[in-house]
């Protein structure tokens, strides 16, 4: 064996060894996309305006507090937009004190005075900061909830710096449940009930002359948990879900599923005082603006309590889960969702692999039938090509998941990779028929076909690169296998194939016939 041939053989053996090492065992090394493994892909949008609005509400409450403390006069504070409000009918003599107060304690806000009205608006920098913060918090909360679910390999990413979050959860068996868990805002509040239940709003407000008192609001009972109906409840929530340190599914005194919660020490003291002050009054538990339960305060409650309601075991479990993970800072919307059940994923793998096997057999049979012994050469190159694709996929791991279009890409590569062999073989046949001997026909066949192979494959690779750039999950999988496959085909069909000819023909230079 010639010296340079020996090095080539060693190189090919190394490539084979490396590919097997990287891809074996394929079940562990090659990561499957959601379309094959089964799972869920969600694109969520955080409605950041919600977070801004809540911030504005809280700041208005804080301002009212401060104004009262300093005994500054005003008629009302009106919210005029998500990030704007105005203090109306102030005492002009106190204007200076009010602006000082805003300067000192409300630094994120711009204000302007027009007569007896002070218009206040959130500074653009603060708006951006709060929006960004709400997306980051939402991402963290979703991460917590998904972690609590104990799913394998979840990915939760923010899309750039915008307000979108992409959630990918492999192996989800009940997408509806997961979607609910992620989407629930889970803002839990305990508030006093001032009136109700009533079948409609008019009846509820009859005794009050049809007007809702300024410190109260009308809420509906959650039809799944209560009898429904309208309630008048206080706006003030002495304790909220943020004060929880734990929540878990449990059973109540009648052995029905319920959620047991524990408050932190400070909130526990607050709740104890609040329940002491309001004994025998009805208290409501509100989740995301819907009343879950109304019960009369029978006793002073320190730091522990139970949420009743008509729970099933699963819904109690899920509520406890979202309460533990904390509330979302804003509502989220589903912009896109794709879920594939495990049975369909398995089905796709089976069908994809059988299509691949059949394609491979057809091509192998054809090549051997058409090119005889040289056909085996092409088959060897093809087999190595598939091995290299698997090896590289194994090496890239999570960065290049195998999807169903990815399997299609491999199948297509099987058809297209032999093209390089065909170009070479056809050239060799031409050279042979023009009367050259076997050895020089092989040599010029390879050298003359090479440029064509390169040119021809480049266009497909260019298409695949842009598909990868702009494509989404499954399509990227296609682009990846196609790029790897075609690139590898230039190595296998040119370098390896040539080597096989060199090895089999080198000792018979005088040979006149080539099985092609």
């Amino acid at each position: 064996m010639k010296k340079d041939l020996r090095w080539k053989v060693i190189l090919v053996i190394i490539v084979i060894g490396l590919a097997i090492f990287l891809a074996y065992p394929p079940g562990e090394k090659i990561h499957l996309g959601l379309d094959l493994e089964g799972g869920m892909h969600l694109v969520l949008e955080v409605v950041t305006e919600d977070a801004l609005s809540i911030e504005t509400d809280q700041e208005i409450l804080r301002l009212e507090d401060e104004l009262k403390k300093k005994k500054l006069e005003y008629r009302t504070i009106a919210k005029e937009g998500i990030t704007r409000f105005s203090i109306q009918e102030i005492n002009p003599a106190q204007e200076r004190e009010i602006t000082d107060l805003l300067d000192d304690y409300f630094r994120d806000w711009d204000y302007s005075v027009m007569g007896s009205t002070v218009s206040v608006s959130l500074k653009p920098a603060a708006v951006n900061y709060l929006k960004d913060l709400s997306v980051r918090q939402a991402k963290e909360t979703i991460q917590n909830r998904v972690d609590e679910l104990g799913l394998a390999e979840p990915t939760i990413q923010r899309q750039g710096t915008g307000n979108r979050i992409i959630v990918e959860l492999p192996g989800v068996e009940n997408p509806d449940r997961i979607k609910n868990i992620i989407k629930t805002t889970a803002l839990l509040e305990w508030r006093l009930v001032l009136g109700g239940p009533a079948p409609d709003q008019e009846t509820l407000l009859q005794d009050l002359g049809g007007e809702i008192p300024s410190d109260a609001e009308v809420l509906k009972g959650d039809p799944e948990r209560t009898e429904g109906g309208y309630y008048l409840v206080s706006k003030v929530a002495p304790v909220t879900g943020k004060d929880l340190i734990n929540a878990r599914r449990s059973v109540d005194e009648w052995n029905n599923p319920a959620v047991l919660f524990t408050l932190n020490a400070e909130a526990g003291r607050r709740f104890y005082k609040f329940t002491s002050d309001n004994l025998k009054k009805p208290l409501s538990i509100i989740l995301d603006g819907k009343i879950q339960e109304v019960a009369t305060i029978q006793d002073r409650i320190p730091d522990r309590g139970v949420i009743h309601g008509t729970f099933t075991v699963e819904s109690a479990e899920d509520l406890a889960l979202v309460l533990r993970a904390g509330p979302l800072p804003a509502t989220v919307k589903y912009l896109e969702q794709r879920s594939i059940g495990p049975s369909l994923g398995k089905d796709s793998i089976r069908k994809g692999l059988s299509a691949m096997a059949i394609a491979l057999i057809l091509v192998i049979v054809f090549m051997i039938f058409y090119y005889r012994l040289s056909g085996f050469n092409a088959v060897a190159a093809l087999t190595l090509n598939i091995l290299i694709i698997m090896g590289i996929l194994g090496y890239l791991g999570e960065n290049a998941v195998l999807t169903l279009p990815g399997i299609a890409g491999i199948i297509l590569t099987i058809g297209m990779a032999v093209d390089a062999n065909v170009l070479v073989f056809e050239r060799i046949r031409e050279e042979l028929s023009s009367g050259k001997n076997v050895w020089s026909s092989i040599a010029s066949g390879f050298s003359r076909a090479f440029r064509t192979i390169l040119d021809a494959n480049m266009t497909t690779i260019i298409a695949a690169i842009f598909l990868f750039q702009f494509g989404t999950g499954p399509i990227r999988g296609f682009a990846v296998t196609l790029i790897i496959g075609i690139t590898a085909s230039m190595f296998t069909a040119v370098f390896v194939s040539r080597l096989i000819f060199d090895l089999t023909q080198s000792r018979k230079k005088k040979r006149e016939k080539l099985s092609i």
Partner: protein, 373 residues
Amino acid sequence: MQIFKQPKFHLMNYKVFAFVFSGIVIIAGIINITKGKGLTGGIDFTGGTLIQIRFKDPYPIAELRQAFPPEMGSPKIQRLDEEGEKEYIIRTSSPELETEQDEEAHEIMGNRIVDVLTKEEDRSALARGLADLNHIDTDELTSILLSSFPENAQEIASTIIRIRESDDLKGIIENYDQLLEAGIDQNVVDSLQEKTFLGSLAVKRRESVGPQVGSELKTRATQATVWALIGMLIYIGLRFKFAYGVAAILTLAHDVLFTLSIFSFTNREINLPVIAAILTIVGYSLNDTIVIFDRVRDNIKIMRKHHFEDILDTSINQTLSRTVITSGTTFLTVFALFIFGGEVINDFAFTMIIGVIIGTYSSIYQSCPLLFF
């Protein structure tokens, strides 16, 4: 073995026929796209919902079509299984809801489809506090089994879900006996019969795209196509003379238009995989074209005395076996994909099959004659 011993087809004699043929198909296609049926965008681009559903009991397709109230439009229904009428894909682009610009219209629509198809008996069973064994996941099943089988509830639950998702049951348990047959203990099944019921349907796949994401995906698909075409053109421009480049571009436009024309005459939708397939075809067709052009370039130097038409014919004939063989092997593989690859990849495989045929035809009959001009 050789298909063509010494091929000497005067292929260029038929070039006018080829131009007329392509012209007719493309013009008919363009008329159909602009004035007639038009191209149907898949939910990836229009926004909408796709739900693949498997029923426990056969649900005749005629009844299924009747199931949706008129305000839901008329969802497209496609039957998937040959043996019974159990598995369907239901698609809707939910136009009525989209006019409200509701970003979650696709979600609502998806929920409504499932809701409409859910049987009354399922609802009453749920109301009685039973869990749907064809819907719940391992966690939920574990918590249901926990009271009766505290030691191995999780293990039993994951076995049952695995049986449900196996190739035999395909995602839906039709009766409790199937669990017994699969080796679940009688006392477990008894306990399940008390606490669960077998829901009448299982959603195996659900894709829904909001209008906003749909238009973004459309932009991205367009960008991918435009940039890929520009990239290929630049490459051709670098490697070949101007005239070849122009011929290659026109061939490429021919391939895309021809494929779209065929699509306009079928019921298939243009979705992301179809765009990927079209781009691949363009690359593939160019590949064929380049191989022939390479020969033309060589032969111009060798056959100085010959007429240009002869040079083209000779070049095509010299590369003909290669063209036929490569197209043949590629066709075999995409055909295998089309037949055995399953529903999910079917549109892609279909596009590839058309593309391989058109790509081969066009590189012989469009790109070469175009060199005349």
